[in-house]
C-alpha cells in the first residue's frame, strides 16, 4: 500500500531532460475521437493531450476500449470522427515515431523467425522499401537486445521463448524502432516478476530519453505508483491527470460501476479477469 501524496511527490522529483509536463506543449493530441470496433461504437468523443515525454497509464474495466484506443492511435482502426495529431501533424505523417507492443495473443509464435529477426523488424520502418539492414541497424538491434537482457537468446526461435522472454523481445523491437511515442498493451499481464521489473526499468530509461509512453494495465496500484499520469477510460474519457486527481471515489465509481466497493478508508475494485488480479484495493 502506498499513499497518493507520496506518489505525486516522486513524480515531480524525477528530473529528466524533458520540460515539466505542464510547460511542454502537448505533442500527442487526441481531439473528439470516436472509434468503432466491428461496427460497434467502442470509444466516444475522446479529447486529451499528452505532453512530450509523459508517462501515462491507461486504466479502465474490461472492454473499456484500452486496446481500441491504442489501435486507433497507430492507425489499425479507422477514426469514426475527430483527429489524432502527433507533433502537430495528423496520423500517417510520422511512420517511424510511434511503436506499439501488442498483447501477446496477436502474434503467430510458430513462425520461423529468431529473436534477432523479430527485433530487426523494428528497423524496417526506418529502412524503407528495398533496402537491407546495415551495420548501424545491427548495432541498434544488439543494443536493444542487451538492454532487455536477452542478448544470449538472439538466435533462438521466437516460439521457444517463455512468455516473459517473448515480451522482452517485443519490447526490444519497440526500442529498435527508436520511437517518440511507445504504446504498450497490458505488458504486465501474464509475465513473471523479473519481466515486470525489466519493463518498469525500461520505462524509467525511456523517460530520460523523452519518449512518451502509454501503457494499458489492469493493475491500479502499479498505475498509481509508477506513472505520473493516469487516463481512466470506460468507452469515454472519465478522467485524465495525476493519479491523485484521477483515482477519486467518484471517478472509479463511474468507470467500474458496481465493481467498486467503497469501504471506510479504502476502495476495492473487483474485476472478473485476469484471474491473478481479481481484487485490487486502493486505500484513500
Amino acid at each position: 500500500m502506498f499513499s497518493m501524496g507520496k506518489t505525486s511527490m516522486t513524480a515531480t522529483s524525477r528530473t529528466v531532460r524533458c520540460a515539466p509536463v505542464d510547460q511542454e506543449p502537448a505533442r500527442l493530441e487526441i481531439e473528439n475521437v470516436s472509434v468503432a470496433y466491428n461496427s460497434q461504437p467502442a470509444l466516444r468523443d475522446l479529447t486529451f493531450h499528452v505532453p512530450h515525454g509523459a508517462r501515462v497509464a491507461v486504466v479502465g474495466p474490461n472492454g473499456a476500449g484500452k486496446s481500441t484506443l491504442f489501435k486507433a492511435l497507430v492507425g489499425l482502426l479507422p477514426l469514426r470522427q475527430g483527429r489524432v495529431l502527433i507533433h502537430g501533424l495528423p496520423l500517417g505523417h510520422h511512420l517511424d515515431c510511434i511503436a506499439y507492443v501488442p498483447q501477446r495473443e496477436e502474434v503467430d509464435w510458430r513462425f520461423p523467425v529468431t529473436v534477432e529477426d523479430v527485433v530487426m523488424m523494428g528497423r524496417y520502418g526506418r529502412l524503407g522499401w528495398l533496402r537491407r539492414p546495415g551495420p548501424g541497424d545491427r548495432a541498434v538491434v544488439a543494443r536493444s537486445l542487451e538492454q532487455m537482457s536477452i542478448a544470449p537468446l538472439a538466435r533462438a526461435p521466437i516460439g521457444e521463448l517463455s512468455g516473459g522472454q517473448q515480451q522482452r523481445a517485443f519490447l526490444a523491437r519497440a526500442l529498435a524502432q527508436e520511437p517518440h511515442i511507445l504504446l504498450m498493451d497490458e505488458p504486465f499481464t501474464g509475465v513473471d516478476a523479473s519481466t515486470q521489473e525489466a519493463t518498469l526499468a525500461l520505462l524509467d530509461q525511456l523517460q530520460t530519453q523523452c519518449v512518451t509512453v502509454m501503457v494499458s494495465t489492469h493493475d491500479l496500484n502499479m498505475a498509481s505508483a509508477r506513472f505520473e499520469q493516469v487516463l481512466l477510460l470506460n468507452r469515454r474519457l472519465i478522467a485524465f491527470g495525476s493519479p491523485a486527481q484521477v483515482f477519486t471515489p467518484q471517478n472509479l465509481g463511474e468507470a467500474f460501476g458496481s465493481h467498486v466497493l467503497f469501504m471506510e478508508g479504502a476502495i476495492v475494485v473487483d474485476e472478473c479477469c485476469p484471474p491473478d488480479e481479481t481484487l485490487q484495493v486502493q486505500r484513500l
Partner: protein, 282 residues
C-alpha cells in the same frame, strides 16, 4: 547396372534432359514461394488458384492463343476475385475460395469438353506432361521463375512483416493488401509455370509439401526457403527417375517423392519429429 549408368542412362534422351531441367526449376520455385503459402495458411488458396487456371487455358486453346497467357490471366482474375468477395465481409475467405475454385474448374471443364481431343488435353493439363517440355518452355519457365524469385528477394522484409505480424505491418503503414495481391500474383505465376510439369491437380502439393517438410527441420525463414528449394528440386529429379524406371506418371512420382520426404521429416526431425518426442517422453 552400376549406379552411374542408372543415373546417366535416362539422360541420353533429350526429352529426359529437358524434363530434368524443368522439374528442377519448377521444384525450386514452387518450394520457395511455397514457404509463404505454408506460413500464411494459404494451401487451399494455392489449390484454388491452380484449378482456376483451367478456363484460361481452355479459352486460349480454343482461340489458338498462348496457353500460358490464358492461364496467367485466369489466375490473376481469380486471385483478385477472391479478395473482392471476401473483403466485402459478406462471406469468409475460405467460402469465397470454395466458390471461385469450383466455378473456375467447372467453366474450364465445360470449355475443354467442347474440344474433340478433350480427354488427352485435359489429362495433360490436370497431371502435367513433363516429358513433353520443349526448349521454349524451358526459357519461359526460367524467365518467369527469375521474376518470381527476384520479387521475393526484393520484398523479403515486407513479406516477412505482413506474414509474421500484421499489426506491425499496419503501424509501419505497409500496403498489406497490395503486398498480398503481389504475393498472390507470384503464386499464380509459379502455378502457371508448373502447369506442364506437374499439372493443375498436383501443383498445390509442390507448393505445400517441400515447404512443410522444411518447416519441420528449421526455425528460420531463409534456411526454410533454402531447404525447401533443395527438397523440391530433389523430389523433382528423384520422381523423374522413378517415373522412367518403373513407368509411372511423372507428376505423381514427383509429388509422392516429396510426400515421402515429408513423412521422414515428420517422424525423425530433430526438433519436432514424433519419434524423438516419443523417446523423450519415455
Amino acid at each position: 547396372m552400376t549406379i552411374v549408368t542408372f543415373l546417366t542412362e535416362p539422360l541420353a534422351f533429350g526429352f529426359m534432359q529437358r524434363g530434368m531441367l524443368a522439374v528442377v526449376m519448377v521444384g525450386t520455385l514452387c518450394a520457395i514461394i511455397g514457404c509463404y503459402v505454408v506460413l500464411r495458411s494459404m494451401a487451399f488458396l494455392g489449390d484454388a488458384l491452380a484449378h482456376a487456371i483451367l478456363p484460361g487455358v481452355a479459352v486460349a486453346y480454343l482461340l489458338k492463343g498462348d496457353l500460358i497467357v490464358g492461364a496467367l490471366v485466369a489466375a490473376v482474375v481469380v486471385a483478385l476475385g477472391i479478395g473482392v468477395f471476401s473483403r466485402q465481409g459478406a462471406i469468409k475467405e475460405d467460402t469465397a475460395i470454395g466458390i471461385m475454385f469450383a466455378a473456375a474448374l467447372s467453366l474450364g471443364i465445360a470449355l475443354i469438353s467442347t474440344i474433340k481431343t478433350y480427354a488427352v488435353d485435359l489429362t495433360h493439363i490436370l497431371f502435367g506432361n513433363v516429358l513433353g517440355v520443349g526448349v521454349n518452355d524451358l526459357w519461359l519457365t526460367g524467365a518467369l521463375g527469375l521474376i518470381v524469385l527476384a520479387t521475393i528477394a526484393l520484398l523479403y522484409k515486407e513479406f516477412l512483416v505482413i506474414s509474421f505480424d500484421p499489426v506491425l505491418a499496419a503501424t509501419l503503414r505497409l500496403p498489406a493488401e497490395l503486398l498480398r495481391n503481389v504475393m498472390l500474383i507470384l503464386i499464380a505465376l509459379t502455378i502457371v509455370v508448373s502447369l506442364q510439369t506437374v499439372g493443375v491437380g498436383l501443383v498445390s502439393a509442390m507448393l505445400v509439401t517441400p515447404a512443410a517438410t522444411a518447416y519441420l527441420l528449421t526455425r528460420r525463414l531463409p534456411t526454410m526457403m533454402a531447404l525447401s528449394a533443395l527438397i523440391g528440386a530433389f523430389s523433382g529429379v528423384a520422381g523423374l527417375y522413378l517415373s522412367f524406371y518403373i513407368n509411372v506418371a511423372s507428376g505423381a512420382a514427383v509429388v509422392l517423392t516429396a510426400t515421402g520426404l515429408f513423412m521422414l521429416a515428420f517422424l525423425f526431425s530433430p526438433r519436432q519429429g514424433i519419434v524423438w518426442r516419443a523417446r523423450r517422453e519415455h
